[in-house]
């Protein structure tokens, strides 16, 4: 009996270990998390429906239109338009359609407000490029049909709101006419189109809104010209600035007559200011101008009389006007004051009185208010209440009501630039962060529930309880390092210049920090964050130090503006220090050396090809001097099609003696002929990749040595003609050349041409192989190719006796200056999807087999075994090859639905996939980011080194107890039987 139960146990044990490649339904959310974002809000429209759920429709800089719950900030629905389909305007028509104008005013779409289904789409063409305007008049009707007025591409359209049909159109073909405003005076059938022509001409067109007929055309010339935008102060008056930015022009066109008045700004404000710009707003009677330091609000009284109502040096944001009754308009103003923001709501004609004045505490890490959108509601006491939606500097979105933040969304995470990881602190005795959450009873109850679940006795409620217990497992969201290395911090840098630390367990934000060095300042006009590097990863002799990351940024869009470095502690999220460099940062090279405090040495290359060493300490310098002659790097000049290799030469010979600056020299160059090749992709191996075995045992007990060099570069070039979109060239005039280049000596190790193929190329390089994805024009399909590179110079180390006697060259140092003896193997396969990103899994020791992670066009991540991309696949593999695991050759790569890493979810706008090894060899952590974020754990060869998460320890315990009991019972029984026998 004992043996039988032992076997039962073995059986149970092995079944719990049985291969599970994909997830079961109840495992969703156990190890993975998914977060949905929308990006920085550009425009927001509040749904004015009386009944139903309150919602706000927003368009964002990530080209998302979304409908948000006004009470909680959740997403009802959202749509991500393509990268080149930039949203120009949104509005709500008839109270139930969301109208969007996008792609430079050429696509107009209507979406159903409750569920986000598209109702219609129409394409608007026009004679020339121009600004675009979308207007939804409330009272303009055309055969009982509500009409939309759209100005785009130099043409005015009236469009039916019901089906998107163009009712009439009117061209504005005058060469130099630049439209500035399209005005629909309420209660009339006229449309005013105003704009500038030929630098100094003001033009006004009056158009019949019923049929598009031109009623009147007036123009007036202003010798001083115009600067920037115009501000509309009433339906018949606009304010503009002259080209010097010092004189205000008030232009009114009442009854089709243009009259104007000029007011120098110095008349209004005593002290002289620099050139001003008009802040666009639509509050009637009031406009604002902004100079470097001061924002001035000016009221227009009567016909062109200007009066300054307020002058402020605070950062200020103004909303558009909101009509609250027939003749009253309200608008919101937000001013900053240290750690608070002041919200005031005023009536347009009454500057001094406030409808509402509130102060809200605001986290400094959110920065300044960039945009304000105002909405009103009726309070319980029947008076008007106001709520505002504000967009902050870090791209977050907040709703303020009654002096409180009702909800906030961290939409900065929709635009991640770079990602790195950091370990969590080690758990120490006494300072344990984890608390004992469960008492014994809870623990027992939990295990009883689990046992019931295992024995299939659980009711649906119990199942739900089990599931929620598993999801909430406190183990995975602890703030300390775990044995398996699953818990880490993901440090992400967003486009807004904010650093976030996300916990890998549940994706929550541990800390966030708006980089001070990325603030706009005198010295740094438009700072841009570039990259994140691990600056200090303490592990051996600097265990007490906190790890830190290096943020590299620069002061402008061009690469020769000066750089800024910031160092941020990853445990606390505080900036340790920041450095404003006096040189540009073109390239950052993390060196594989660390100094005594585990700070990694970095080499920064500037625009004059000088190399600068950081950190600037003498210890770092002495380490660097030792390795001086072994440092090589390369640079790719995309425009010229030149790849160059560099090495260090000597100390800088500049006027200032700088110990940490070095001159460089060119060692090699590869010049692609400009008429036939254009580089489109360059890929290298990951710096921290670990390779476990150098040799690969092939079928007939032969050994092939992998050519493993950290200095290999994969370059893909295409014919210049074929660098456009797919299908723009014939197969004969398009080709793709793939190169493997050694970056120390500039040797081309392999070069192969794919005729009739075209980019875009996505490639990934790992160990001794590279996989790349491109389009085959002849086969009309996407293809993926693999190149594996093997070292022949060590190929004769096969003899066992040689190895035993030590007569092999496996331990001798390898010099890249030797002539390489390599062979390559390659093979191409068809693949169905087009790709957005490609990555490869990486594990701690590199033993586990690899999977390719493909970001598909459907915004999902697909895992594909590297075995499918083996160049040695043949149609009929031999027995030995089959045993080795070679799959019979097929022409296309299989897409197994279960191997979608993202299972049912989509990572909208997928841009990058990052893999991080866990400490557990079988497991790798995968982070995919785009507009959404997705994180999961992946075990490419299954978790062969640990029990699965849902392994029932309770059942194991019970089995052991039962076994022990059985042993005792049988022992007693046998004792008794023996005794009986003896007495017989």
């Amino acid at each position: 009996m004992a043996i039988r139960s032992f076997f039962l146990f073995i059986l149970f044990f092995s079944s719990s270990l049985s291969p599970v490649f994909s997830l079961y339904e109840d495992q969703v959310g156990l190890m993975d998390w998914h977060q949905q974002y929308i990006g920085k809000v550009k425009q927001a429209v509040f749904s004015s429906q009386r009944a139903g759920r309150k919602r706000v429709v927003v368009s964002t800089e990530e080209n998302v239109i979304a409908s948000l719950d006004l009470r909680h900030g959740e997403i009802f629905w959202r749509h991500l338009l393509g990268a080149d389909d930039v949203i120009d305007g949104i509005d709500i028509g008839l109270g139930k359609y969301v109208i969007t104008l996008s792609s430079g005013g050429s696509i107009l779409r209507s979406w159903n407000l409750p569920d986000g289904q598209m109702v219609w789409e129409s394409s608007l063409q026009g004679p020339k490029h121009s600004k675009s305007f979308l207007l939804v008049p409330t009272n303009l009707k055309f055969d009982k049909d509500n009409v939309l007025v759209v100005f785009s591409n130099g043409r005015l359209h009236a469009i039916s709101c019901i089906d998107g049909e163009v009712l009439w159109k009117k061209d504005f073909e005058a060469e130099s006419f630049e439209v500035q405003q399209v005005i629909l005076p309420p209660g009339s059938d006229l449309i005013h189109v105003v704009g500038f022509a030929a630098f100094s001409q003001f033009e006004m067109y009056q158009i019949n809104a019923k049929n598009g007929e031109l009623l009147k055309h007036e123009s007036a010339s202003f010798s001083s010209g115009f600067l920037g935008q115009v501000s509309l102060v009433s339906t018949e008056t606009v304010v503009a600035l002259d080209s010097t930015g010092s004189i205000l022009l008030t232009i009114s066109f009442q009854d089709g007559k243009i009259s104007s008045q000029q007011t120098p700004i110095s008349n209004l404000v005593e002290d002289s200011l620099g050139p001003a710009v008009i802040i666009p707003s639509s509050v009637s009677g009031i406009f604002a101008i902004k100079t470097d330091a001061v924002t001035i609000f000016i009221r227009v009284i009567g016909k062109g009389n200007l009066e300054v109502v307020e002058k402020t040096t605070h950062e200020i944001a103004v909303s558009d006007a909101l009509s609250i009754s027939e003749d009253q308009q309200a608008f919101a103003l937000i001013q900053h004051a240290s750690s608070e923001i002041h919200l005031t709501v005023k009536l347009a004609h009454d500057w001094d009185g406030n409808l509402l004045k509130e102060s809200v505490k605001m986290d400094r890490q959110r920065g300044l208010v960039h945009k304000v959108f105002i909405n009103n509601y009726i309070r319980t006491d029947r008076s008007y209440g106001f709520r505002v939606l504000i967009v902050m500097e870090d791209h977050s979105l907040l709703l303020l009501q009654q002096g409180e933040i009702v909800w906030s969304r961290e939409d900065g995470l929709a635009s991640i630039i770079d990602v790195t990881t950091s370990e969590l602190p080690v758990e120490r005795d006494g300072v344990s962060v984890a608390k004992v959450e469960h008492n014994l009873f809870e623990w027992l109850k939990g295990h009883m529930l689990k046992l019931k679940g295992t024995l299939m006795l659980a009711s649906p409620e119990d199942m739900a309880a089990i599931q929620s217990m598993r999801l909430k497992s406190s183990e995975k969201s602890k703030m300390t390092r775990d044995h398996n290395g699953f818990r880490k911090l993901l440090i992400v840098l967003t486009r807004a210049g904010k650093l976030f630390a996300l916990h890998t367990g549940d994706g929550r934000i541990v800390w966030s920090y708006l980089l001070r060095s990325l603030h706009k300042s005198e010295a740094c006009q438009s700072p841009i964050g570039l990259n994140l590097y691990q600056w200090q990863v303490p592990h051996h002799h600097a265990m007490d130090e906190n790890p830190s990351v290096l943020v590299v940024s620069r002061c402008g869009p061009s690469s020769d503006t000066s750089g800024v470095l910031s160092f941020v502690d990853t445990y606390t999220g505080k900036e340790l220090s920041s450095l404003s460099l006096d040189h540009a940062v073109v390239q950052v090279i993390p060196l594989p050396y660390t100094d005594s405090t585990e700070q990694r040495l970095h080499l920064l290359i500037d625009a004059d090809k000088h190399a600068h060493l950081y950190p600037k300490t003498s210890g770092a310098l002495s380490i660097f001097k030792r390795e001086f002659s072994n440092i090589y790097w390369y640079s790719v000049e995309d425009q010229n099609g030149i790849i160059k290799g560099h090495a260090l030469k000597c100390k800088c010979t500049g006027e200032v003696a700088d110990e940490f600056c070095f001159d460089t020299r060119d060692l090699w160059s590869v010049v692609f002929p400009s008429e036939s090749e254009k580089t489109i992709a360059t890929v290298t191996r990951k710096l921290n990749e670990v390779v476990h075995t150098q040799a690969k045992v092939v079928a007939d007990e032969d050994v092939m040595y992998k050519y493993i060099s950290r200095n290999l570069l994969f370059v893909a070039t295409v014919a210049p003609k074929g660098s456009g979109e797919i299908g723009s060239v014939t197969p004969e005039e398009s080709w793709l050349v793939a190169y493997l280049i050694d970056t120390v000596t500039g040797r081309i190790l392999h070069r192969v041409t794919h005729h009739g193929s075209q980019g875009p190329v996505h490639a990934v390089f790992s160990e001794n192989w590279v996989v790349y994805h491109y389009f085959n024009l002849r086969a009309h399909r996407y293809e993926m190719s693999v190149i594996e590179i093997y070292d022949q110079s060590r190929a004769d180390n096969k003899d066992v006796w040689k190895l035993v006697l030590g007569k092999h060259n496996l331990t001798s140092p390898i010099s890249l200056f030797s002539r390489p003896e390599v062979i390559t193997k390659s093979q191409s396969y068809f693949f169905t999807h087009s790709l957005k990103a490609i990555a490869v899994t990486s594990t701690a020791k590199g033993i586990t087999s690899k999977q390719l992670l493909l970001g598909t066009i459907g915004d999902q991540v697909l895992a594909l075994d590297k075995r499918f991309l083996d160049p040695r696949r043949t149609v009929n593999p031999t027995q030995a090859e089959k045993e080795e695991g070679i799959i019979p050759l097929t022409d296309s790569l299989p897409i197994i639905p279960q191997s979608y890493v993202t299972h049912a979810l989509r990572v909208e706008g997928l841009r990058g996939i990052i893999t991080v090894p866990a400490k557990l060899e079988s497991t790798t952590l995968v982070f995919a980011h785009g507009v959404d974020l997705f994180f999961t754990q992946l075990a490419p060869s299954r978790t062969y080194d640990s029990l699965t998460e849902d392994f029932s320890y309770a059942l194991l315990l019970i089995t052991i107890v039962a076994l022990v009991a059985a042993i005792f019972v049988t022992w007693r029984l046998s004792e008794r039987k023996e005794l009986q026998e003896k007495w017989r």
């Binding site: 060119d666 692609f672 081309i748 002539r819």
Partner: protein
């Protein structure tokens, strides 16, 4: 792989001529260099003054070449630099500088880079830019100075040149002076390879199914591989039985001595009970 190994680089220029397209490579130029007397005909290369800091540059005449192929204007100069010195002409590619001793010794002692450059377009030198390549100087000396060129071509354009020693250059690079301060060159021209086409199985749709059917059939496994899970318990049971069987005669033998008067049935009875105890 198609490549032409040319011992004399002089011939290279000619071979460029016969390269109307990238696909075709001439093999007609495998002529030995001695015929052209490269070493024997030192002449000043051009009237232009030789840079003072470079070693005296002598270069064999291009006359023979132009005699041979009078319509050819194609020739490119090979420049070289010692460490950080400026590039100085080392002669046309067809005839390398033969003496290296002046800058060479210093270079070998400091183990600096020996750099070469050539134009990226052989028809209209220097093309867009020079192709540079370099090697640590101590990699070159053997008997003489051995060098190895791999020139990657695309039509008339030179993409890259891989320059280095013909063999290995193990890492602790020891200072070794060559017996002869002259170069012996080996040159390989390389053009792009064609990628293998993705296999297309369209015509084999019917056959493919068959093939798949074969795959679906589980491969014949050995008897042991199939039934090991049954055989091991069976083996255990057999072993158990055997040990029991072996114990039985023993117990019979030992049991008979004290229980002489008893019939043998007692021993038979005791057999199973001892088995139980053993378990």
């Amino acid at each position: 792989m198609k490549w032409v190994e040319v011992i004399v680089s002089f011939i290279l220029t000619l071979s460029f001529l016969s390269f109307p397209s990238c696909g075709f490579q001439s093999d007609e130029l495998l002529v030995d260099d001695e015929e052209f007397g490269l070493e024997g005909a030192p002449q000043h290369r051009s009237p232009e003054p030789i840079p003072t800091r470079s070693p005296p540059v002598t270069s064999p005449t291009r006359k023979r070449h132009s005699d041979l192929d009078s319509d050819s204007k194609i020739q490119f100069s090979l420049d070289h630099a010692f460490g950080d010195s400026d590039f100085s002409p080392a002669g046309t590619f067809s005839a390398r500088l033969k003496t290296w001793s002046h800058g060479g010794q210093n270079l070998l002692e400091s183990d600096d880079f020996y750099r070469i450059r050539l134009p990226s377009n052989v028809l209209s030198p220097p093309g867009r830019d020079f192709i540079i390549s370099s090697v640590k100087a101590r990699c070159l000396p053997r008997e003489s100075l051995d060098e190895h060129f791999v020139i990657h071509m695309e039509g008339v354009n030179v993409l890259a040149v891989n320059y280095g020693s013909p063999g290995s250059c193990p890492y602790p690079r020891n200072l070794k002076l060559p017996a002869k301060w002259s170069f012996s060159s080996h040159t390989v021209l390389k053009n792009s390879e064609q990628a293998p086409r993705a296999p297309v199985f369209t015509e084999e749709i019917l056959g493919g199914e068959n093939a798949e059917g074969e795959v679906v059939q589980p491969a014949e496994r050995s008897f042991w591989a199939k039934y090991w899970m049954y055989l091991i318990p069976l083996g255990l049971i057999v072993m158990n039985a055997v040990t029991q069987a072996m114990n039985m005669p023993e117990e019979q033998a030992t049991g008979q001595v004290p229980a002489q008067g008893q019939p043998s049935a007692g021993a038979v009875q005791r057999g199973p009970s001892s088995a139980v105890r053993r378990r």
